[in-house]
């Protein structure tokens, strides 16, 4: 295929390359993998939240039809010594600046001494079919000595609370403080102060594909293949190397088509290590596909933070000081360490300019499913605390919340803005580019202006209808390090091959990186071959978490392509008998600038570069056309946005009808605007789900009450509004393409936008919505209480 000379593909809304297979049933997810002689695994999971394990009797299960292997935690412990508790891997630059204490309990592959949440695996069955494996799993007798559970994070901190990880004698497994200025003095001086408690509840990523792992061991080469529905194949390989005691070079990890991740598949789970271990042990392929019930009780949840905020402000509603002490309930284990809580801490200031800030975070274990990042990863909680506070300040001073925001936003003239605290890479936070007031103004314009809305709101109230306006502003550090890799190679056919550690789960990476490579190499996107999520394609990689891949991989491609292009030009110059400086890339070829027609194709250059007789390399030039680059970003680049919703609240039945939902966002240069919009739609609806419908609930015994889609409500097409998008464009100065991450941002604002909108609608009842989700019964109760004059 050829390409018009100056056509650029970055910026075009190209339909996706991935679609052809996914639309016709030819995608391949891990559950679609059918290996010859494959066995199937099923787990036995604890039905009790907290208990000491007396015994896990496998005798009946092991004798059941079709069972090949049954193992409990004690069996695994004998074969695999437990991994010692290690220090969290935190950048030295960060640990040098932030006062912190972390304990880091390591979850065994199967529980052997205690169970710490309902759903923790205590045994595994491997059988000829999944049906038979599940039959046998029911025959396992688990003898437990129940211990008192603790499901509330504050109770977990109380003296005398049951302790999950007894070696520490405390449930407080992480603590840090970050500050700038002098909060105490500024609060003491502030003309106005208010204190509030905010609770952001527990909900979860819930991708439509649950987790799944398949593995096959090859005795001949002493090597193993692992297919996992996962966001981080290189991380998986690293951990598998330890567990299997194999060199990384003998392990291949692949993520096939992955049915959504959103963070929940962004770290390595015990099951992902145990399945390959079993496959090697039984010398047959083994597959485990998590079912939905299991997913609710064993795949990580998220959010679940309590914030105690104190804010000081002046008569003009200017922020003077903000203090937040929060508790992050991480569940039974803490696979991501400081990640979520530190994200929360540094995103609390958001787009606002103020001098005195202090946050104290405590990470607490409870007898619930462990928490891991979910789209937003600590930021929705931060945004909830700040943006609710802004609305409360407005109410206190009887000002409009939009104006209070405008008063405090970092003015565009002050960009880049130094926040005064370090990011989690240890670098000072600098909001690199953008126009925060413009983002706010553009959504206010899109809703028809605040004044016009207030008129409508007053008129509606006179008719007994309750309209509310909710606004939420946020910033998001994106494209965080440590690195991403790219190998760029000119295929002998002239096609451009790119391998990377980035792992897609629906983002359309094959499409967007083809667009980027097409511009870099002046070829058609169809002439780009993307090899992602496969450790055999590139030896070092990071993976796709934390809104990073567009930023980090585009830069890695850029930097790998530069020396490769020089080599291509040197060889082409040798063939064309001209100087390399006179050459340019065009239409999959190299030609002399200003001389049409005199060209050599990339395929010919690739052939000329080959080692051996009759090559056409300049003397002394090494053979081959391949370069690898590891891009280590200087620090994060800051996306931002403002969401606004107008809601119509029916106080009789507690129904919230979202009349209008507007989003202004800035992710710098948009590689593919259609895919950017898709990311924003998806994240916003996940945020709305968390705000209104989705809730993981436990009873006081630690029993999971929401173990199915009958109890845990995902938004459906008829639950969500049409979303209006406004794109702002401030390219990032920190990377070659000018891009910023867009994967998570849109999930940050919706919970607080809804809470602010409903609080605004119900202002006549003097009720505040400071917890999520916002439930119909809260609305009805507020209206009843007001009617009874309470």
């Amino acid at each position: 295929m050829t390409q018009a000379k100056d056509e650029r593909f970055v910026g075009q809304a190209l339909p996706r390359r991935e679609d052809a297979r996914l639309l016709t049933g030819r995608g391949q997810f891990v559950a679609d993998l059918n290996l010859p002689g494959m066995l199937h695994a099923a787990f036995v999971r604890s039905q009790v939240a907290h208990a000491r394990i007396r015994s896990v009797d496998l005798s009946r299960a092991a004798a059941a039809p079709g069972v090949v292997l049954a193992m409990n935690g004690a069996d695994v412990l004998q074969l695999l010594p437990p991994v010692p508790d290690t220090q969290l891997s935190l950048p030295r630059k960060w640990t040098a600046q932030v006062q912190h204490t972390f304990l880091n309990p390591q979850q065994p592959l199967l529980a052997h001494d205690k169970v710490r949440h309902v759903g923790e695996a205590v045994a595994v069955i491997v059988a000829e079919s999944r049906y038979l494996a599940e039959d046998a799993a029911e025959m396992v007798t688990v003898d437990l000595e129940p211990l008192p559970p603790v499901v509330d994070a504050e109770q977990a901190l109380a003296h005398g609370s049951p302790v999950l990880h007894e070696q520490y004698a405390t449930n407080l497994i992480g603590e840090f403080e970050v500050a700038k200025g002098d909060v105490d003095a500024a609060l003491a001086r502030a003309p106005h102060r208010l204190k509030r408690r905010f609770h952001h509840h527990r909900y979860a990523a819930i991708p439509m594909e649950c987790r799944g792992v398949a593995s096959v061991y090859d005795a001949r080469s002493d090597s193993i293949s692992i297919w996992s529905s996962c966001q981080v194949v290189h991380w998986l390989r690293r951990e598998a190397a330890t567990i299997l005691n194999l060199p990384e070079a003998r392990i291949r990890c692949v993520a096939l088509d992955v049915g959504g991740g959103f963070g929940v598949k962004g770290h390595v789970y015990p099951e992902e290590l145990l399945i390959p271990f079993l496959a090697r042990r039984v010398s047959r392929p083994v597959r485990w596909i998590e079912d939905r019930h299991e997913h609710f009780m064993a795949a990580c949840h998220s959010r679940d933070q309590i914030h105690d905020v104190e804010v000081g402000f002046d008569d003009e509603a200017r922020l003077l000081a903000f203090r937040d002490s929060f508790i992050a309930d991480c569940g039974a284990w803490n696979p991501i360490g400081a990640g979520i809580a530190y994200n929360t801490a540094v995103h609390i200031p958001g787009p606002y300019k103020f001098d005195n800030f202090a946050v104290r975070a405590r990470i607490v274990t409870t007898n619930k499913v462990p928490n891991a990042p979910y789209r937003g990863a600590g930021r929705p909680e931060a945004s909830f605390a700040m943006e609710r506070t802004i609305d409360l300040i407005a109410m206190e001073l009887n000002r409009d919340p939009a104006k209070v925001r405008m008063t405090n936003l970092v003015p565009s003239a002050e960009m880049p803005y130094h926040l005064g605290i370090p990011y989690r890479d240890g670098e000072p936070i600098v909001y690199d580019s953008g126009d925060y007031p413009k983002a706010l103004q553009s959504v206010l314009d899109a809703i028809g202006g605040v004044e016009a809305f207030r008129v409508r709101q007053r008129e509606a109230r006179e008719q007994g209808r309750y309209l509310g306006l909710g606004i939420g502003c946020y910033v998001e550090g994106t494209g965080v390090g440590p690195f991403e890799s790219a190998t760029v190679r000119i295929d002998p056919t002239g096609k451009i091959y790119v391998a990377s550690g980035a792992c897609p789960q629906g983002q359309g990476m094959e499409t967007i990186f083809s667009q980027i490579v097409a511009d870099t190499w002046k070829v058609n996107p169809n002439d780009v071959i993307m090899a992602l999520a496969d450790t055999s394609a590139i030896s070092i990689g990071f993976g796709t978490i934390a809104s990073r891949s567009t930023v980090t991989l585009s830069a890695a491609i850029h930097h790998a392509s530069k020396p490769l292009r020089e080599k291509v030009f040197a060889i082409a110059a040798n063939i064309l008998e001209c100087a390399p400086e006179d050459l340019e890339l065009r239409n999959g070829s190299v030609g002399i600038v200003g001389v049409p027609g005199n060209e050599v194709t990339l395929a010919s250059v690739a052939k000329a570069s080959r080692p051996g007789w009759d090559n056409a390399r300049p003397p002394g030039m090494p053979a081959g056309l391949e370069e690898t680059y590891y891009y280590e970003p200087p620090t994060v680049t800051w996306s931002y946005g403002t969401h606004a919703a107008i809601v119509d609240v029916d106080v009789k039945i507690g129904r919230i009808n979202i009349q209008k939902y507007v989003i202004a966002h800035d992710c710098g240069v948009m590689v593919n605007p259609m895919l950017v919009e898709g990311q924003i739609h998806g994240g916003t609806v996940q945020g709305l789900g968390g705000a209104l419908l989705e809730e993981i609930s436990y009873d006081s015994d630690g029993q999971l009450l929401t173990g199915s889609f009958m109890d845990y409500l995902l938004p459906t097409a008829s639950d969500v509004p049409h979303l209006e998008l406004i794109h702002l464009h401030h390219p990032s100065p920190l990377n070659p393409l000018g891009v910023k991450g867009v994967g998570e941002g849109s999930a940050i604002a919706p919970p607080v936008v809804i809470a602010n909108a409903v609080s605004d609608a119900l202002a006549p009842f003097k009720v505040e919505f400071n917890t999520t989700p916002v439930k119909p019964e809260q609305i009805v109760r507020a209206a009843w209480s007001a009617a009874r004059g309470e």
Binding site: L23, G25, E209, G506, G682, T684, A717
Partner: protein
Amino acid sequence: MSRLVDVRLTVNGKACEGHCEPRTLLVDFLRENLGLTGTHAGCEHGVCGACTILYNGEAARSCIMLAVQADGSEIVTVEGIARDGKMHPLQQAFHEHHGLQCGFCTPGMLIAAMDFLQTNPSPSEEEVREGLSAVLCRCTGYQNIVAAVMAAAAQMQSERD
């Protein structure tokens, strides 16, 4: 293990036959016995709709049906909706409107949309949202799916006219 039974049915216009346990779910039979892995199991309790197929012309959830119940029936899966090697207007519209991201719910969404457009060939946006509310998607926020179904409806209408 109970004895195996024979199941004969027509899938995507072709006569198919398999042997399975009586308890085998239809979705597992399609995927494991017939190798039609385009139909996905997302919840196995009949809520998410990823496993939706056409069962004797109507949308049904293959994760809460037994294969033996489908004996003698006619089934259409996502593998069978393209026409003469050309994508169905719904598939084409999903492609053009970015109506899919991870693609896991997509087979169920396409089949549910086919069924919906059979009964309501020129729906409003609200009707499309209601009509698709039996299939969960976690990636798209539905907006582009709705746009795709509206576009496909118009296309199919113009093909009929």
